[in-house]
Symmetry: C2
Subunit: 675 residues, 2 copies
């Protein structure tokens, strides 16, 4: 295709199943589990004998038989609900439903609470018949569909468990498997709701009320008694395996040392037609188009690198090992990383470094939505406004987002958490990153990580006509070309400053609200309110008293956010006039700003997870996919590590001040040489 392409190989610890056993032991013996069945009308599913059976990678092998406790999504607040009812998971197998947070947190929290095994099933409330017809009538998950996935403890560090922080090259120094903290200790298995239903039918204990229940047609019970016992055994092949990244380079003609990196993974759990191929095909189309351009003699100013990652599914292996291997070069050269992954019909979703917000909006303005013929940016604004008008139903947008949509301003981009290959770029190296895709019409979600993620499913439900795949390649193609050929790094620092100020306000409010809630709890406990309000059929005790959140001194942070705001305003204004500067000055300014996002790193990283060094963006330790912004502070408050919160107020202020100082330096350069 006109690229300089090669394959880069890493050797990683990548478990695959030798055997999985799941059976109901009481109230009666029923064999459960096993491969998903064929679906009529979908030829891809006709023979699944060679496909990976339902399995979650990096669970801890084991063979256990125990009583079952339903734990809803298996998130921390769900264990609080169990504790209020005196239900303990120690020595039990938990049954969690998918959703509410990252898959890997479910067995991790289960083992922390003393469970001996973990089953994860797909409740029809979450991606099944509650919102769409099951496949093949619609795109929803059918009764026998199972979501595979990774349960690696990726919020500690992603990538090969044996080589944290360094590339898994042939000669890398490796931990032993026992030393690798990202491998779980209890057996876990994903199952269908057809199987879950058989387990849940016999559960005893209080009825599960409200949002903690799913959409199966019976009253849910928390369980925990010996009425229902399950035998779960998983045995894996823990051998080292090779993974293959495809790296294609097109050298820049004027600024070859500035790199624009663009990636999508190529590995999938079974067929992977939606995940990753809907994104991968867009990447290939862009590469092909750039190759055609190159054949005409065109060359980009900057160097463009297209990467097709392997091993994303088990734990962002390909991207992480590549980034760790090339960390020094990337820190010197990489200007931008643009990621995509699964893509489908609907509305633009953009997340990333906020100094790129305006750049993304400008590209989105120029891409036509295939359904409406308007720009994808205008369709996103319309969706936001209609959602706010219709109200409730989970569609109510944030105030800042709605205001932007109404005013026709740039739409705010979201913060990056984790779950795809941008993680090592943004959160380990601090390279400005974007993650782009379309979605939200929702018909397709039910095939995710199952054997039903096929060409037939994608073309019938996820992206009929593959038109949103084409829209994605047009959007990302523009972004890559404009970044590679632009006069300067396409940043607008004021957008970052505004966003940081919002985050600062959020963490302040979080501390105040949590303190208020703590004091309320104290009052309610003192007055014996929970005992009085407890229900005869579902008796609950008062929530544990965790003390009162102290007043947190955030002045240093507020001061840094103020300084950033002023510095960013000055820098944006100066850079507007950059075209008038002498070329040498412009180059010097560029050199100063190219790596500015890397200043958001702290070499010590986040508490308990030094691999994550970005003090503005991280995946939440208790959300996984979901971002926590100003994570050292925010999670310090939420998790009641108040000393950490105070420490990270200072550290976060320091990185923001460094960022502002770099802006000030650039402005000073422009003044010094102004004509």
């Amino acid at each position: 295709m006109g690229w300089d392409a090669h394959i880069e190989t890493f050797s990683v610890l990548y478990p695959t199943p030798i055997s999985t056993v799941l059976e109901l032991v009481a109230p009666s013996r029923i064999a459960l589990g096993g491969q998903e069945p064929a679906v009529p009308g979908d030829p891809s599913t006709a023979d699944l004998s060679g496909a990976l059976p339902p399995y979650v990678a990096y669970q801890g092998d084991g063979d256990v038989t125990a009583a079952v406790v339903y734990v809803d999504y298996g998130m921390p607040e769900d264990y609080d609900a169990l504790a209020a009812r005196g239900i303990d998971v120690r020595g039990k197998i938990v049954l969690a439903r998918y959703g509410g947070g990252w898959r890997g947190l479910k067995p991790k929290l289960a083992q922390e609470h003393g469970a001996v095994g973990c089953l994860i099933y797909s409740d029809p409330a979450d991606d099944g018949y509650a919102d769409r017809d099951p496949y093949p009538r619609g795109g929803g998950r059918p009764a026998a569909g199972v979501q595979r996935g990774s349960v690696q403890d990726m919020i500690t560090y992603p990538g090969d468990p044996l080589t944290p922080g360094v590339g898994a090259t042939a000669d890398a120094k490796r931990l032993t498997r026992a030393q690798a903290t990202t491998i779980l200790k209890i057996p876990a298995l994903p199952i269908s709701y057809a199987d879950a239903q058989k387990i849940m039918a016999g559960l005893e204990g209080p009825v599960v009320h409200g949002r903690a229940r799913g959409a199966l047609p019976f009253a849910y019970h928390w369980g925990g008694t010996d009425a229902v016992r399950v035998h779960l055994a998983v045995k894996s092949d823990w051998s080292m395996k090779p993974i293959y990244d495809v790296i294609a380079t097109m050298r820049g003609k004027t600024l070859p040392d500035e790199w624009i990196v663009r990636g999508n993974h190529h590995d999938g759990w079974v067929f992977g037609a939606a995940d990753p191929l809907t994104g991968q095909v867009a990447l290939m189309s862009e590469a092909k188009a750039l190759g055609e351009l190159a054949r005409t003699g065109w060359r980009p100013d900057r160097t463009i690198i297209y990467a097709s990652w392997d091993g994303e599914e088990p734990g962002l292996l390909g991207s992480t090992e590549w980034v760790e291997t090339h960390a020094d070069e990337l820190a010197r050269h990489a200007v931008l990383y643009v990621n995509t992954d699964e893509n489908g019909r609907g509305f633009l979703g953009a997340e990333g470094s906020h100094d790129l917000q305006h750049f993304v909006n400008a590209a989105a303005r120029d891409v036509t939505d295939p359904q409406t013929g308007m720009s994808v940016l205008d369709r996103l604004r319309a969706e936001t406004r209609a959602g706010a008008y219709v109200g409730a139903g989970g569609r109510a947008p944030e105030v800042a987002v709605l205001e932007a949509a109404r005013a026709g301003d740039d739409m705010p981009v979201g913060a990056l958490g984790s779950g795809s290959d941008y993680s090592a770029f943004l959160q380990h190296l601090g390279i400005a990153s974007l993650n782009l895709g379309f979605g939200g019409e929702g018909a397709g979600a039910g095939s995710y990580h199952s054997a039903y993620d096929t060409f037939t499913h994608v073309t019938r439900f996820d992206d009929p006509g593959l038109v949103y795949g084409a829209a994605l390649s047009k959007l990302v193609g523009r972004i890559v070309l404009r970044a590679a050929d632009g006069e300067r790094v396409p940043a607008r620092y004021g957008d970052f400053a505004v966003t940081v100020s919002r985050y600062v306000a959020e963490v302040k409010k979080l501390a105040v609200d949590q303190r208020d809630k703590d004091r309320q709890l104290g009052d309610l406990r003192r007055d014996g309110v929970f005992k009085l309000a407890s229900l005869a059929e579902d008796p609950t005790v008062a929530p544990e008293d965790k003390g009162v959140t102290p007043l947190l001194d955030t002045l240093a942070l507020e001061d840094a956010a103020d300084r950033l705001t002023r510095s960013a305003r000055a820098a944006d204004a100066a850079l507007e006039r950059a075209a008038t500067l002498p070329p040498a000055t412009r180059a010097a300014v560029e050199a100063d700003l190219r790596s500015i996002d890397q200043l958001l790193l702290d070499p010590a990283g986040l508490p308990g997870r030094p691999w994550y060094r970005n003090l503005i963006y991280a995946p939440g330790t208790l959300t996984g996919y979901g971002a926590k912004t100003l994570p050292g502070i925010r999670e310090g408050i939420e998790q009641r590590r108040f000393a950490d919160a105070a420490t990270y107020v200072a550290r976060t202020a320091a990185v923001l001040n460094a960022y502002a100082a770099r802006l000030d330096a650039a402005v000073a350069l422009t003044k010094a040489t102004a004509p």
Copy 2:
């Protein structure tokens, strides 16, 4: 029992089923409907051959075969959702689920939208397995359970359809059946979800998203195509039938012309163990206790009348006809009406005239909650505070309620809508009324109006040990005794004034919010936002533009509320010192205030429903059970009858001014004779 009791008989138009037919015609022919089956372990249900089959009284007989449209709760906003999808119910049979508003509104709105028939089913989301185990494992509605009931258009007027406003005595002047506007025009039938499921399984059209779906285990579709056709035929016996009210009187010794009326109905749909007997048994216990007291020679100061109403279920027949028959006497003598109905385990629920708020709280303080041993008032406060702390999940209380619970102040009582026998007293005659009961632990709701509302169900789930029945008789007994024997009418007018001021603020906010929403809609329509946000799989068009809510002049109302606040404060202060007044003055003040609540009537009544004359409290024309306060104004705004809203600002101000003037007169009397 020591009472002067008699039976009072009325002759009313009371339809009963001759035949009901329900069958699925397409996609295949399946017979549906019929009597509910026996439930193992509940002897009452063993032979239901003589029981009323599933039926809704005052539907319009007919025989129709048509396609089916699912209409969610069948409330106005549900028809908006259908309209946005271009789905029309004209010529079709609607399938509505119970809940979201009064049963009778479902066929009424269906016929207004052109439907030819109406089926109403009990979705397990609302009183079935979504929140409790189905009977007999738990108290939830089982698959074959059916809710009977009335669909009389009781929001126009309740009682016998042939004698609006007058008692249905033997010689009353009657309308013809054709003239009676409260009888519906299309056939309707209540069904089980076992039956509904068979109809819904074949429905086509877009998938129903979000809260509009229930808890059945498949994707809901709106339907409307000929894929599903149903045959519905209902034939009733429309003969006149007698109803029997039991009226027991205990004449007062010092103030025999002041009447305290206490009632509960005795009719039920099948066994009626919970509805009405949980309330009826409490009433009988009180009557028995008062009779025992009377045998000791005691007599109340005021006259006490205990009433056991017939025909509440079909349309508040017994109470309405009695009140209409005795309207003049009641207007002269009745001081208070105290109602109960179904009662169960849980928390105190009190609704009524707000000048009685403190009186109710004082009684609730003195009654012990059987589960916790604290007062029922303290348990209510605890439930409110715990609900607010736990948050969301529908338990979040109103601000004023939460503040009262926290401060240990009187808990606000709710406003009375309709659905039980207080309606004629409060809303037609303006007699101060209360409706009291316990509930909210929720285990029992699934037997409502079905053949499973039995002694076994009540004692296992609704009120095990019947202890809340005893608590209810203790509460109401205290209220009746204190009202009958107290020095004065137990009112505190400031509570009413505070409540009215809150309602005034609400209607002002309603008008402003609606105006804002109208303008938003105009903007969104102008910008074509709905077309852009429409989903390929569920295309919707913009909501209809209904114009912009005008600015509403509420100054007269605000002025009246202000005056009421000042007059009430003065009156409460003066009455605190009433004990020091000469007896003749006290009697004159009493005479002035005894009927003060009747000043809230306007002889013209509410727009379109002159029977409802109370300008402060009414059942909502589009909610049925639920109260609308300041109904002339509030519904004028909501239903965009802005001229009515303006008219009722003036009329409502006038009744509030009359109420304030009466207070002023009482205060003047106390000053004139102050020692």
